[in-house]
Amino acid sequence: MNEGSSALVLVLSGDPALYAIVRLSLVVSLSAVGLAALVGLPLGGLIALTRFPGRAGVIVLLNAFMGLPPVVVGLAVFLLLSRSGPLGSWGLLFTPTAMVIAQAVLITPIIAALTRQTVEDDWSEVRDELNAMGVGPLQRLMTLLYDARIALVTVLLAGFGRAAAEVGAVMIVGGNINGFTRVMTTAIALETSKGDLPLAMGLGLILIAIVFAINASAWALRLYAERRIG
């Protein structure tokens, strides 16, 4: 296992090129989660708390969008940002910003759909209590989002996991440019095809470690919250 051990050496030696890639991955995916949360949390909450014609259709669509193929999202954002596209003048294509946008589009439906479900379940539980206190519509939304905060952190982590693991969208809109838009997943794909297995495996190890750490912290947070908040 010569390649395995050189992968480990690469990871442990703190190879700067490798860590730049890891850092960019985290920055892009965390920004995407932030952006998606800004849209997805209120949107999911709003759909949970309102009744309007076509609501069932919106929910079905949202749930279906949870499974959007990253390459299709990448293609759509590519068309939007390409020089001849509607937002081409922004000059964002093949930049980290474009990658953030693509991943945000990918995971906003996930966050919105899961938030909708969570808030709606909570609402059916506390509806009478809140109505008896005369809580207005906006306050109701804020109250329920805050009340579901633990579950919603898990929702955000699910979004992050999806963003960090996808390769298709960032490959298309980022272009996998060395030192600029290369992230873990695109680097793994490239290095594997080039035959540089140690680097690919090193990155793979780190990716798995990050996913593991995220799930462990989500679990720990749940346990803590269940004890503290109930």
Partner: protein, 238 residues
Amino acid sequence: MSDLPVTLTKVSYVVGETSILRDVDLVVRTGAPTFVVGPNGSGKSTLLRLVMGLITPTAGAIEWAGARDPAPRRRAMVFQHPVMLRRSVAGNLLYALEQAGVEKSLRDRRCSELLQKVGLSDLADRPARRLSGGERQKLAFARALARSPELLILDEPTASLDPSATLALERLIAQAAAEGIKILMASHDLGQMRRLAGDVVFLHRGRILESASAKDFFEQPVSAQASAFLRSDLILED
């Protein structure tokens, strides 16, 4: 701003084919506690929820101080199964105080007063969702008082309390009534009704069979169902 009197005129509540309440006429006005009694499923909770304005009658009308607007102004309710927010005990009270429009600088003091009143001071920092059934009932009572209600609606508030906690809550209810808060409560406890009730509304299968002063209800119930209810708390099907 006032909520009293609450006037129900020919109120019915029908879900699908089942009529849960039929032709209810009732006026809730200032005075001694009104008890709503009747067997399980007779419609007590539904009646209380209508008076609270949480559900809309399918026929008839409800007016609060002459207005049809169901937004709660000076009324509060303790539910049969109270639900708390995922916050501490004090956090739940502070939330209720905020919603009731109590000024921020006054909330902390009011919160500890209320906790003291219901005997939950030691549990102020506990997660409210972790309280026992009885503790939750007490917190729900404090939370209702946080609204400084004029009308306090209680749905079997002592159902899950031990005898001494029941007595303590009855004292709080009596105290609230003495302070001029109108109490409208559902109960199965005949002893409690004797101790607290000013008048009684007897429900049977969604109809008000009797509406009388507590004294009259106990001494000379008109309907056979009410007599049977008083004798054994058990009503045989007609």
